[in-house]
């Protein structure tokens, strides 16, 4: 296992940030440059995150693995058993049923939506955003909990909701001091809260092998915190068992029968 290198802040990277540079392209360019740059990130083929999800006083240890091609798996340890809460094999998303602890495919709409966003899993939405067909717009400066931010609207691939395509927007708040996102506002796309806005609060950026990762991501809705994952370790380009992303075959065979 590789060890995280917590280098003193300010020692490694040079900043290309100028406060006058306020076009949306400049902000994103600065952000990418400052988190290690396009080149460093392009060398990363996989990311493994080990952490704990906290919810209502219960800790859920997890290991999440993300591949550059979008494949992903989040494995939660429940009483010594592996419980897959989310997996994607490049085309199909699946997870485990709590009652049977067996894998089940998500509905095809969820798979399509997952696939559309899977390319952001490892590097984030802003990498190659133009090539991905995303658009960005700087809406101006706005305070986020007392911190001055650039408010950037990111429009991603439309999301399918109950058979209908809907616009897929995230509002990013980039700290004007550091040019990094500290919060995201998202309109909830489906379920009973569809149309309401949730907040994601990002912090604890730490250096890992020359690039920077946020180790704390909290989601809030109506002022309340939902699940609260915190990362203990982030590793890149580890040996990954390629088979783990596929839904277990016995289940597929059962379904064929």
């Amino acid at each position: 296992m590789k060890t995280l290198k917590f280098t003193a802040l300010g020692l490694i990277l040079c900043f290309a940030v100028t406060l006058e540079a306020q076009s949306v392209e400049d902000i994103i360019e600065n952000y990418i440059e400052n988190i290690g740059g396009q080149e460093a990130w392009s060398k990363i083929t996989s990311m493994k995150v080990t952490g704990v999800g906290k919810q209502q006083g219960v800790d859920y240890p997890f290991v999440a693995t993300y591949m550059k091609d979008g494949r992903a798996i989040i494995d939660v340890n429940l009483q010594g058993n592996s419980f897959i809460v989310e997996a994607f094999d490049g085309e199909n998303a699946w997870n485990m049923n709590f009652n049977t602890q067996k894998a089940e495919a998500l509905d095809s709409e969820s798979s399509i939506n997952y696939k559309n966003e899977a390319k952001d899993n490892l590097t984030g939405a802003f990498f190659n955003y133009k090539a991905k067909g995303y658009s960005v717009e700087l809406l101006g400066k706005e305070d986020w909990e007392g911190t001055e931010c650039f408010k950037i609207k990111l429009t991603k691939t439309p999301v399918l909701v109950d058979g209908k395509e809907e616009e897929n927007i995230d509002m990013y708040f980039f700290d004007t001091e550091n040019y990094i996102p500290i919060a995201i506002e998202t309109v909830i796309k489906s379920g009973p809260a569809k149309g309401a806005t949730s907040q994601t609060i990002i912090s604890d950026y730490q250096e890992v092998e020359g690039v920077y990762v946020a180790f704390s991501v909290i989601e809030k809705f109506n002022g309340q915190i939902g699940i609260e994952p915190s990362f203990n370790m982030v590793e890149f380009n580890t040996d990954v068992d390629e088979g783990v992303f596929n839904m277990p075959e016995e289940v597929i065979e059962t379904k064929k029968n």
């Binding site: 900043f15 058993n81 952001d120 909990e145 927007i169 990094i180 994601t200 309340q224």
Partner: protein, 1007 residues
């Protein structure tokens, strides 16, 4: 999890360069609110007034409701439930319009409700979203006050018309019909009559966007009267996109006209309907044109068609059938014969303001009323209410000191209610209790008895309700010999005394005092108003349609405040601008209004707050919107009104309705305005708007619960909104801002044993108000946001042993971290399925604990206390037994987990070597954990793990000490576990393991 982790992957950081230099600027409260957040508790069962309904032109699942005081709500499920989409802006809505050419993205919202009753709020302009409601941009019309319609040309998104009804209480030239040719960027006024006549309704021919119909209405309200109608009211038609307009009155009644509605049948553009308010009653009602307005014929003047035109002038035609016409009204009316005859819509809340038909099926209708949105599946015959619209419109609220405390309040058109601040499973519709009919206003709880005072409009009834014995009587002051006729405001003031619990005050033009809860009344003042007779002719109110509901009663007392220091100091404010004070219990009165500078004469005194910090100090809120003056006014006196100082800064937008003083910090004040809540930390030198889960809603009344320090707001459109425990705001000062971390003081946290059942029935579609947290809360202030590097928060005992690890907040300002006073759940033996009892986290003991915040290399510590809940009645010995037994089982559960781990490890080594031992080990294992089945009905017979964990969970989750039955059960489990350990030791010995290495118990627990 998915979304969070996905975002995690995306959020790759960069390196910071910032210094630790402290900010030397003045403290800006809004930067520091951090985790202080409002929670909404409704109620939604009676909902609130709807102004405008709108359907998506191609997607029948999407419905919008523009509400009178609660913003814009969108349904994505054909009206089953709604969510708010306009919380950051003015919540009084006149019109919502979807661009038919781009309906998923472009939405216009015109603010300012248009059914101009006395209690309407005001708008502040026109807004547009181009991304389906995620972001909004203001398009001007700042002084429009109320917008009646917005219409986008169905063939050209750039062409937009806006009907501005305009100011209700004053002249204004920002009225009439406006047109934009660039999608709202610029506007030209295409129809204008005069400063008192606005556009009340606008319709476009759906087959020819150049043809427009505009109803212009001459109207005016004052604090004491209303006038609808005049020579300027008229119905106009344009056939050239608004360039020119002509009156189309052929067949109209003679004389003055009032408010007119206009509708074009979507399926036949020649068929128009209008409802006319005319001089003669016989000429009022529904008129129809079959030649696109060339001529009109009166069809019907039933009550349902003519009632209160200012409130109900809305006609809607079935999009598929020109002869099906629906009219807003007291009950709403529907005709299926082209307007000749009508029947009432199905039973629902009264006062129907708008109706929309489903785009594909006319049996489906959505109706906006004074009591929310209703759906019909059978053409309006049967109506069902939408249950998740918490739009209740409070005039006043108060709180008691029960545990949990209750909130009392009166609602526009929806009576009076009280409900709890917390309830099992959240605050549900069923938790609310009705305690008064009519329009509800002030509701007060007797300070010591379970008696509630409530009232209806004009003090027609003041109820005294004995809650325990369910006895109701009316106790309003009645006319007395030798006194003038009593004039009560529509929203009459009442007050109770902190000095004499049975004392009860009411205000007419006189101050009435009772010392026996309203049975006997004494008048303790002269007429404290201006007694201006010109403002007392309510019978003449209404204009073309008489409207003497009592809502315009004027020259009355509106607010009463007895000093908490001295029962002889009483303040009275009147709706016609007097601030009166007595310092001798009413023997003499002084009108101090002459000492207030900067407020126009006769401006409504909306609230007086007698200070809890000083006998001579009080705050007076003046409110001039009924004269067209939207300026915020709040003044403070420290010398019984001899001098008054303005405490409003430029930060405050919107007129003020209420102020609440903090009980501890005299510089901390809370201000209820028409556009939300403002807070000052410096006695009013600067104010910050509070926006954390708090809409820009009109805050009519604020109370501060003394025990919990909860700020409770009665809003006029979003029900009761609470900010739990505002005490951290009391400590904010330049000194603490200079610290790297400041922990706020906290009262000991009671580890709640009380619980209950909630049922949850209906929660799928009903609004459920959020409960406050029961957790121990670690509260601290960061002067600057934490962004880079690790930050952790641990709970430790006083010996420094880690008890729990929490996720710390990192916001600039106030951070609140919840700890549910438990340690983490035990490590449970690995089986085939889950042991549900094993997910239980046991509570810690009462005592002092340390919160240890680590930020970079620095640590910061704070001690706090947990105490037991006295409701459970356990002795300290009982608590010890419960704790020891729980932890014994917790440890036993982990010991079993290690035993099974070790057994599995042995199995791994001996497999294929010694079949007999393998079989014995497997036999043993099958008695320890479940090795087959699933977590539902396929579950296997429970084994030792399940029995142990279930008993552990049963004891840990009980409020009580372990029962004898539980202890007996424990001894069986313990015996069985001891035997298992012995059996395993024997098998392990038989296996003769060499170099057998496994994790130690401690390593196993950490893994």
């Amino acid at each position: 999890m998915k979304h969070l982790l996905f975002i995690m992957a995306m959020c790759i950081g960069l390196l910071p360069i910032y210094t630790n230099a402290q900010d030397s600027k003045p403290i800006i409260a809004k930067d520091l609110f951090g985790d202080l957040s409002a929670r909404h508790i409704g109620p939604a069962l009676m909902s609130g007034r709807i102004n405008d309904m709108e359907v998506h032109p191609t997607n029948p699942r999407i419905i919008y409701a523009g509400t009178a005081g609660g913003g814009v709500w969108k349904s994505n499920n054909a009206g089953t439930t709604f969510n708010p989409i306009f919380d950051d802006y003015c919540q009084s809505i006149g019109a919502v319009e979807i661009d038919p050419n781009n309906p998923d993205k472009v939405i216009y919202v015109g603010t300012g409700e248009t059914w101009t009753r006395n209690s309407v709020s005001v708008g502040d302009g026109l807004y547009k979203s181009t991304d389906g409601g995620t972001n909004w941009k203001k398009l001007g019309f700042d002084k429009s006050e109320r917008i009646a319609n917005i219409i986008v040309n169905p063939n050209n998104s750039d062409e937009v018309y806006v009907a501005v009804l305009g100011a209700l209480w004053s002249d204004s030239d920002e009225r009439g019909v406006y047109k934009s040719l660039d999608a709202g960027a610029t506007w030209s006024k295409v129809l204008y009559v005069d400063e008192s006549t606005g556009c009340a309704d606008l319709a476009m021919d759906p087959n020819n966007p150049d043809i427009l119909y505009a109803s212009m209405w001459e109207f005016r309200r004052t604090g004491w009267s209303f006038n609808s109608g005049g020579d300027k009211s008229a119905l106009y038609k344009s056939i050239d996109g608004g360039k020119s307009w002509n009156k189309i009155h052929n067949g109209f009644p003679e004389g003055k006209l009032g408010r007119l509605a206009i509708a074009v049948a979507p399926s036949d553009s020649n068929i128009l309907y209008t409802v006319i308010e005319a001089e003669k009653d016989s000429k009022k009602g529904l008129y129809r044109s079959d030649d696109a307005g060339k001529s009109w014929k009166q069809l019907n003047n039933d009550f349902g068609l003519t009632v209160r035109p200012f409130y109900f002038s809305r006609i809607v035609v079935d999009p598929r059938n020109p002869d099906v016409v629906v009219k807003g009204g007291l009950s709403g009316s529907i005709s299926r014969d082209g307007g000749k005859t009508f029947k009432g819509l199905g039973r629902m809340h009264a006062d129907i303001h708008d109706i929309v038909f489903d785009i594909n099926d006319s049996d489906r209708m959505y109706v906006g009323t004074d009591g929310g949105v209703y759906r019909s599946w059978n053409g309006g015959t049967t109506m069902e209410i939408v249950e998740n619209l918490p739009l209740s419109q409070f005039y006043h609220i108060s709180v008691d000191n029960e545990e949990p405390y209750n909130i009392y309040g009166g609602l526009q058109d929806n009576g009076s209610w009280y409900g709890p601040s917390t309830s099992s499973g959240g605050i549900n519709a069923r938790d609310w209790n009705s305690i008064g009919g009519g329009d509800g206003f002030r509701v007060l709880r007797h300070p010591t008895k379970k008696i509630i005072y409530s009232e209806m409009q004009g003090a027609a009834n003041v109820w005294r309700y004995d809650v325990e014995n369910k006895l109701i009587k009316t106790v309003q002051p009645l006319p007395k010999k030798g006194h003038a006729k009593l004039r009560f405001n529509w929203n009459p003031p009442m007050a109770v005394s902190e000095h004499q619990p049975d004392r009860f005050y009411m205000g007419s033009q006189f101050l009435h005092k009772s010392e026996d809860m309203g049975d006997t009344w004494t008048i303790i003042s002269p007429d404290l108003t201006t007694n201006d007779k010109s403002k007392q002719n309510q019978e003449g109110s209404g204009g073309l349609s008489m409207d003497n509901s009592g809502a315009e009663n004027h020259t009355t007392i509106f607010t009463i405040a007895e000093s908490p220091f001295d029962e002889n100091v009483i303040w009275v404010g009147t709706d016609d601008g007097n601030v009166q004070v007595t310092t001798n219990g009413g023997k003499t009165w002084t009108n101090t209004i002459a000492n207030v500078s900067g407020v126009p004469a006769n401006t409504w005194v909306y609230h007086i707050e007698a200070s809890v910090h000083d006998k001579a100090t009080a705050y007076a809120v003046f409110e001039g919107h009924t004269t067209g003056d939207m300026t915020p006014y709040t003044y403070k006196t420290t010398d019984y009104g001899k001098t008054w100082t303005n405490i409003i800064s430029d930060d405050v937008v919107g007129f003020v309705r209420n102020i609440q003083e903090d009980y501890v910090n005299p510089d901390l004040l809370y201000l209820g305005t028409e556009f939300g809540l403002y807070i000052t930390l410096n006695g009013g030198k600067s104010w910050s708007k509070f926006t954390k889960n708090m809409p820009s809603v009109a805050v009519h009344f604020i109370d501060l619960q003394k025990r919990t320090n909860d700020l409770v707001m009665g809003t006029h459109g979003r029900g009761i909104i609470i900010i739990d425990d505002i005490s951290p705001l009391r400590e904010i000062s330049p000194e603490i801002m200079s610290k790297k971390v400041h922990f706020f003081t906290s009262k000991p946290t009671v580890m709640k044993d009380q619980s209950g059942f909630s049922g949850n029935f209906g929660a799928e579609t009903q609004f459920v108000g959020r409960n406050p947290s029961k957790a121990a809360q670690i509260k601290y202030l960061l002067p600057k946001r934490h962004t880079f590097g690790k930050m952790t928060l641990e709970i430790q005992d006083m010996d420094g042993k880690k008890i729990a690890s929490l996720g710390p907040g990192k916001s600039k300002g106030i951070n609140i971290v919840n700890w549910n006073y438990t340690i983490k759940q035990p490590k449970v033996a690995k089986g085939k399925t889950f042991s549900f009892g094993g997910f239980t986290s046991p509570r810690v003991k009462a005592g002092i604990y340390k919160a240890v915040l680590t930020k970079g290399k620095e640590t910061f510590e704070h001690n706090f206390e947990l105490v037991y809940d006295e409701h459970s009645g356990l002795s300290s010995q009982d608590r010890e037994l419960k704790y020891d037994t729980t932890m014994k089982m917790y440890n036993m559960t982990q010991d079993l987990a290690y035993l099974v781990y070790e057994l599995d490890a042995v199995l791994d080594v001996v497999t294929n070597k010694n079949k007999k031992i393998v079989a014995s080990l497997n036999d043993l294992k099958e008695t320890l954990v479940i090795t087959t089945g699933d977590n539902y009905v396929g579950s296997a017979e429970p084994q030792l793990r399940e029995k142990m964990a279930d008993l552990y969970s049963k004891i840990a989750n009980s409020y009580d000490k372990p029962s004898n039955a539980e202890l007996d059960n424990l001894s069986i489990i313990e015996e069985r576990f001891n035997k298992a350990k012995t059996d395993f030791a024997k098998l392990k010995k038989k296996a003769r393991l060499k170099d057998f290495k496994i994790k130690t118990f401690e390593e196993f627990l950490k893994d």
